[in-house]
């Protein structure tokens, strides 16, 4: 049994400590907003927050996160989250949408740590999130838009 604190609630999950957090969230707890894209921490579709920092849940094992605060796209709230979602919707960033949970989670981390990111900052911080539909032009614009809304 592993106790996982997700979105402010503690779940006792019967899982091997080596099980990637992604599968505990998706298959054991049926929270499906966090996506499986590559399974090897290469694409960022599975991004959640662990103690506020972005993390690739396909690579973080449940045995690593006992006692930590995990937040998923379903539970992320607050000023920054609202600004990011608002910007994403205002600019109609999404296409297929599959990567966008991860993009949004990562953008929230970025803006929480850097309220005025430059294009170069965005390149480095969003490097781990692949969008196969190629919505990068709008992701970048939406991050700037959210930063503006937060000031």
């Amino acid at each position: 049994m592993v106790a996982l604190n997700i979105n402010g609630r503690v779940y006792d999950v019967d899982a091997d400590p080596e099980m990637p957090l992604l599968w505990a969230i998706r298959d054991r707890l049926n929270m499906t907003g966090t996506k499986f894209g590559c399974g090897r921490a290469l694409c960022g579709a599975c991004t959640v927050h662990i103690d506020g920092e972005a993390a690739r849940s396909c690579s973080i094992m449940v045995g690593t996160v006992a006692g930590k605060q995990i937040t998923t796209i379903e539970g992320v709230t607050g000023k920054v989250a609202d600004a990011v979602r608002g910007a994403w919707q205002k600019l109609d960033v999404v296409q297929c949408g599959y990567c966008q949970s991860g993009q949004i989670m990562n953008a929230i981390t970025l803006l929480s740590g850097n309220s005025k990111p430059t294009d170069a900052d965005i390149d480095l911080s969003m490097e781990g999130n692949i969008c196969r539909c190629g919505t990068y032009v709008r992701i970048r614009a939406a991050i700037h838009e959210a930063a503006k809304a937060l000031t």
Binding site: D16, M19, P20, W23, R26, D27, R28, N30, T32, G33, T34, K35, F36, G37, C38, G39, R40, L42, C43, A45, T72, I73, E74, R85, W88, Q89, D92, V93, V94, Q95, C96, G97, Y98, C99, Q100, S101, I104, I122, D123, L124, M126, E127, N129, I130, C131, R132, C133, G134, T135, Y136, V137, R138, I139, R140
Partner: protein, 721 residues
């Protein structure tokens, strides 16, 4: 567009008559479906294309699959325009599999999304649906208010009659309206009266996709469902020789191991257990009939074939004679590797056996294929297969497979599991990269003459590739006399005036399954045509845009696109050392696109700094989605232009995941400007056309910067150095 008044019975195919009749049962009826008791009393529910609830919510029933291209927003725009609905009350849902109701009017009879045909095929149909519903609601209001229908106005979802002081929402008359006859004829708005078409309304799928609530196939959770992963052959064409499942069955969570025709399936209680169980499988493969060669040897086979005579794909004038008399000739070979689609959501689907048939949950692009494949495997008739279409986490063609590979596997596994539980078959990313159904390997060879004045004098073009359509249910549509139109598209139908033109095609046979990938044949043809034209312009000492314009004389739409690109890109301005600007123009799926790329070139690296795109796709139903599709096509294509390739070593695919098949990342994305030519011509495709000019525009820019001509894809230089 001038014919704003269209009759209902004028459609694109024989089945059209039945499909655009709003809310009627077949055979042709004159009453809304809800009158037969299928819908709750309080809603206007034709249950075909449109549902209007008493709370004024208008739901578009999409016969097309949403994979990000914005089709649900586009269809809803067409309906809402004629219905005069309130956009904020528009919603969408996916239609059940029913080819009679949801036929693709462009290439049916088939329920299918693809070929950038959705707006083309439903521009009239969806507007007629909206107009018919509006007429019925107005008639209902007229009856209730005791006023002539012609005196009622509708705007923003509100019916009103100023003189009588009456106002009501569309929903208020939903119940009344569904008891009325469906009008036999409706008038459509004059384009000058459009309020939604041509403006940017917000996407309908934005909210769900920014909150994690949109349901993809991978998110389906059926009670008691088990997860399956399938061990497929490591070489294409191999079969199972023997299986040792003992270790796999010991893995915690593994429930069963089943051999099916496609390989060996591991069934487990969750995805991770299934993946771990599969890793413990020991399978020996019989590779005696498999592809055991490496990519270089396969290319050599192509080249050998191309010295033969092949199939004639296009013949105008006398290319050979012109070439013989040309002042100079240009000759080149272009090679293209296999490409994987790698949509972000790996392939997956769920199947549940029921007493009366089977139910599927899938990001389904070809419902008519999948229902037949499932029925065939399960020994049922297709009408016993119910498909729930879900959002697709990308597709780029991969979720629409004429062989129905995913559903065939799923049905075989579900059947082998004996209906003990619903089965969710999940592909991992490695399965996806190694799993075949690639954009085919292709070799083009061109030989072009130039006369003393630098004009084209004879064009001989040879293309070797494997046919996508041969052997599939779509063969009769696309293959004539062994020639697959998709193998040579983008060349034989070039927009340029090429008077002495000889195109031959060489059909390669191979156990490696191939499939259309976003823009299909244009994904390679445009690169060959536009690189070649660019080289010819250079040889002729002419400006690349002027040289193209001369070949497009008498084609005002094409010239307008080219000229606007010239104007908006700053064409002709000098660039600093190490930077270059290149152009490419291509027509595909009825849409004209010109791209001008700016690049910076270092010794080991290329950065695409900016792409200016100009597009004419007829009426831009939602200009912002048109822009998004072009922006996205650039991001999608950039990595295959620069670095992506699927290669074989002794028959085994060398790539496995996003490290060795790495899509474009944020830092690589150029600035993009998209300019849309204002047009009232009928809409043409937009999901795919943006792909075609990307690679040649970049290659031509690299040439401008360095004088070095890179012909084959990938161009290279896509790595970090």
């Amino acid at each position: 567009m001038t014919a704003s008044r269209r009759t209902f019975l004028k459609g694109a195919s024989a089945l059209a008559a039945s499909t655009f009749l709003l809310g009627t049962y077949l055979p042709l009826g004159r009453t809304a479906r809800a009158q037969h008791g299928a819908a709750p009393a309080a809603s206007f529910d034709p249950n075909v294309f449109l549902k209007i609830d008493a709370d004024n919510v208008v739901t578009l029933i999409s016969k097309y699959f949403e994979m990000g291209q914005g089709v649900t927003t586009g269809l809803a725009t067409l309906v809402a325009e004629e219905l005069d609905a309130d956009w904020t009350m528009m919603r969408y849902a996916f239609a059940p599999n029913n080819v009679q109701l949801y036929n693709n009017l462009v290439f049916g009879p088939v329920m299918a999304t693809g070929g950038s045909t959705s707006m083309v095929g439903s521009f009239d149909q969806m507007r007629q649906v909206g107009a018919a519903a509006r007429a019925m609601l107005v008639a209902a209001a007229a009856a209730r208010w005791g006023v002539p229908a012609g005196t009622i106005t509708v705007a923003n979802g509100i019916l009103s009659h100023a003189a009588a002081g009456k106002r009501a929402t569309l929903g208020a008359f939903a119940t009344d309206a569904m008891r009325l006859p469906v009008p036999a004829q409706v008038s459509l708005k004059d384009p000058k009266d459009w309020k939604l078409i041509g403006t940017t309304v917000p996407r309908l799928d934005s909210d769900g996709k920014t909150t994690g609530t949109t349901l993809f196939a991978l998110d389906v959770r059926r009670p008691g469902a088990v997860t399956a992963v399938l061990q497929r052959p490591t070489r294409f064409g191999a079969t199972v020789a023997s299986v040792d499942a003992s270790a796999a069955k010991q893995v915690a969570g593994v429930l069963d191991v089943l051999q099916v025709p496609q390989g060996v399936a591991v069934i487990a209680k969750d995805t991770w257990s299934a993946i771990r169980g599969r890793a413990a499988l020991k399978v020996r493969w019989d590779t005696s009939r498999a592809e055991n060669r490496s990519s270089a040897a396969i290319f050599d086979e192509y080249r050998q074939m191309m010295s033969g005579s092949g199939l004639s794909a296009q013949k105008r004038g006398d290319a050979a004679a012109k070439l013989a008399g040309a002042a100079r000739t240009y000759e080149a070979e272009f090679t293209f590797p296999y490409l994987a689609h790698t949509p972000m959501e790996p392939l997956n689907a769920t199947m549940e056996l029921k007493p009366d048939g089977a139910e599927i949950w899938s990001g389904c692009q070809l419902q008519s294929i999948d229902e037949h494949v499932a029925a065939h495997v399960l020994g049922l008739t297709p009408d016993r297969i119910k498909i729930n279409t879900l959002h697709g986490g990308g597709s780029f063609g991969r979720r629409g497979n004429p062989t129905g590979d995913l559903i065939g596997e799923l049905a075989a596994i579900t059947k082998a599991y004996g209906g003990r539980a619903p089965v969710h078959l999940v592909w991992t990313r490695e399965d996806d990269v190694k799993g075949g159904f690639y954009r085919a390997m292709v070799v083009h060879r061109v030989k072009v003459g130039l006369d003393a004045g630098g004009n084209i004098a004879g064009w001989d073009h040879r293309i070797a590739t494997k046919s996508i359509f041969t052997g599939t249910p779509f063969e009769p549509m696309a293959v004539k006399n062994n020639l697959d139109a998709s193998s040579v598209e983008g060349v034989v139908d070039s927009a340029y005036e090429l008077s002495d033109f000889d195109v031959r095609c060489f059909n390669v046979t191979s156990p490696i399954p191939v499939l259309w990938l976003r823009s299909v044949g244009h994904s390679h043809a445009a690169h060959v045509m536009e690189s070649t034209i660019d080289e010819l312009a250079h040889l002729a000492g002419k400006d690349p845009i002027d040289f193209r314009a001369a070949l497009l004389s008498g084609k005002p739409r094409d010239l307008a696109v080219l000229n606007l690109a010239k104007e908006r890109s700053g064409w002709g301005a000098s660039l600093p050392e190490g930077r270059g600007r290149g152009v490419a123009y291509h027509v595909s799926f009825g849409t004209r696109i010109c791209m001008v790329a700016d690049v910076t070139v270092w010794p080991t690296r290329v950065k695409v700094d900016r792409i200016v795109a100009v597009v004419d796709c007829g009426v831009a139903i939602n200009p912002d989605i048109v822009k998004a599709q072009v922006e996205g096509a650039i991001g999608f294509t950039l990595s295959s232009a620069l670095r992506n390739q699927i290669t074989l070593r002794d028959g085994e695919v060398e790539q496995s995941n996003f490290d060795d098949y790495e899509p474009t990342r944020m830092r690589e994305m150029p600035q993009v400007e998209v300019h849309i030519v204002k047009s009232l011509e009928r809409p043409s495709g937009i999901g795919e056309p943006g792909v075609a000019p990307v690679a040649p525009a970049i290659a031509n820019a690299i040439f401008a910067a360095t004088g070095k001509r890179l012909r084959s894809l990938p161009l290279g230089g896509g790595t970090r150095a």
